[in-house]
């Protein structure tokens, strides 16, 4: 009778431990996945912010850069492409187009000292540069979140639980600009 009791308690203990283990993994998988979705939404917020700044920018440079037809049109075309994009891929391509067009515009603006003295232009330049950085960091965070999620559902014992929960690995974003290397550390 005593032996049965002890065995029963040990089995119970093992079951409890496995359940706690499962819950800890379950919660982490859910949290990491939510982080990915959050990160994705954040990228969109920043992209929209950038698109919203464009009309103001166009108004400001209008008087100064009239002869730079091609450069200015590239920006407005890219912005329309963003507005009319239907699939995520189209949206991404249109946004990449805008990144290139803006880079060219600011490079060309360097040869217009009057424009560069314009307070409005300077503020917009600051804000657009800032928004580009925010887009870049949002994408970085998205990829970091995907990596964290993939790591936990691919390694043991997370993979067992992940299979039960029906979770699949996610894809990272291919960032068009120079990819940032994660530094190796000597600790």
């Amino acid at each position: 009778m005593d032996l049965m009791l002890i065995i029963g308690l040990i089995v119970l203990l093992i079951v409890v431990i496995i359940l706690l283990w499962f819950f800890s993994y379950y919660n982490r998988v859910i949290r990491y996945e939510n982080r990915i979705d959050n990160a994705w939404a954040q990228i969109d917020v920043q992209l929209k912010r950038r698109a919203d700044l464009i009309p103001n920018l166009m108004e400001t440079v209008k008087g100064y850069m009239n002869h730079e037809r091609g450069t200015l049109e590239a920006v407005t075309m890219a912005r329309s492409a963003i507005m009319t994009a239907k699939t995520p891929q189209e949206s991404m391509d249109a946004n990449n187009m805008l990144t290139g067009a803006l880079k060219t515009l600011f490079a060309v603006a360097e040869s217009y000292p009057d424009l560069k003295a314009n307070q409005n232009f300077l503020q917009l330049q600051d804000e657009l540069t800032h928004t580009e950085d925010k887009i870049s960091y949002s994408r970085q965070h998205f990829n970091d979140s995907v990596l964290q999620f993939n790591n936990i559902i691919e390694t043991f014992p997370g993979n067992i639980f992940a299979n039960m929960m029906g979770k699949k690995t996610r894809e990272m974003l291919q960032i068009p600009e120079a990819s940032r290397e994660v530094p190796k550390v000597s600790f």
């Binding site: 925010k134 960091y137 970085q140 940032r180 530094p183 190796k184 550390v185 000597s186 600790f187």
Partner: protein, 303 residues
């Protein structure tokens, strides 16, 4: 001895594990003090623990609750002004690092000071504040400022404010309890318990007394060790956020060349600053809250 290179993520995990180990040692130390106090007063350890633990917890709670406002006031910090271009760019950097970390954007404050320094505070990421000196804004370029802010954001990400404030609370509690115990012993002239048992027990009591005198020193050294570990962690994590360890390395090099002329702020704040704002002579010893600047720069440049 060159440590072997590992992925930053692994290092972050290892650092967090090490912190847990050290914190457990701290807690063991706290309970040992309770035990020793019980011994010398001739009271059962369970009793001293039941009295001591709530006292310790209360002390920790009070320290924790008042930490934020005191930090800001002590530093004489004010909210950053977006009308000022330098401060606007600081706000931008904080926003960017918050996005990289996946956290809400902390409030941004500025401390008027020639020194290059920064600190982070806040009970939880949602209430966080990052403060940089005006010296930072004037002397650091964009990449260096980004490195500094990345470091501060890492402190918030890793809940270092919580870890360090609680640790300070535990250290304070140990010191407080040790002091009370010694005073009680002094005024009561020894306990009835030890007199009852005779000679052998005196040795135990003496050991317990020595332990109680040394405990505050041990706990302080442990606290400083934790602080330094967390600083390395914040450096590594900051480099991960910015993907640019050189930025912070260069900023630290500028700090190294700088001589602090007006150290302001309370002592408790020290571990939250990026570089020890006080006592330059003690900066690179085991009594420092921060690891030596040279070593931090070396590790960052090796990444």
């Amino acid at each position: 001895m060159e440590p072997k290179p590992r992925l930053i993520e692994e290092n972050i995990q290892k650092n967090k594990r090490d912190t847990v180990v050290i914190c457990m040692l701290m807690i063991i130390l706290l309970f040992s003090v309770f035990f020793a106090v019980g011994l010398i007063l001739g009271a059962p350890p369970i009793l001293t623990m039941m009295i001591g633990l709530p006292v310790a917890l209360f002390y920790i709670f009070i320290t924790y609750s008042f930490s934020i406002q005191s930090v800001i006031s002590a530093a004489g910090a004010r909210p950053a002004n977006p009308e000022n271009r330098e401060e606007k760019l600081l706000i931008y950097k904080v926003e960017e690092m918050a996005l990289a970390a996946g956290l809400p954007t902390p409030k941004v404050y500025v401390q008027e000071s020639q020194d290059i320094n920064a600190f982070a505070t806040g009970h939880k990421p949602a209430d966080a504040i990052i403060c940089a000196t005006s010296g930072c804004l004037q002397q650091l370029n964009t990449e260096e400022l980004e490195g500094v802010i990345g470091h501060e954001m890492s402190h918030i990400m890793n809940r270092d404010i919580l870890v360090m404030t609680v640790t300070v609370g535990v250290v304070g509690a140990i010191a407080l309890i040790a002091e009370i115990a010694l005073r009680m012993l002094f005024w009561s002239g020894g306990s009835s318990g030890s007199k009852k048992e005779g000679g052998g027990n005196i040795i135990v009591v003496v050991i317990a007394i020595i332990f109680i005198i040394l405990a505050p020193i041990f706990s302080r050294l442990t606290y400083l060790a934790i602080s330094r570990k967390r600083e390395y962690l914040a450096d590594a994590n900051g480099a991960y956020l910015t993907r640019n360890p050189l930025g912070l390395a260069k900023a630290l090099e500028k700090i190294k060349a700088d001589i602090p002329d007006d150290p302001k702020g309370s002592k408790t704040v020290a571990p939250l600053y990026i570089s020890n704002p006080f006592k330059r002579a003690l900066r690179d010893s085991i009594w420092s809250t921060h690891p030596p600047l040279d070593e931090r720069i070396r590790r960052l440049r090796a990444m």
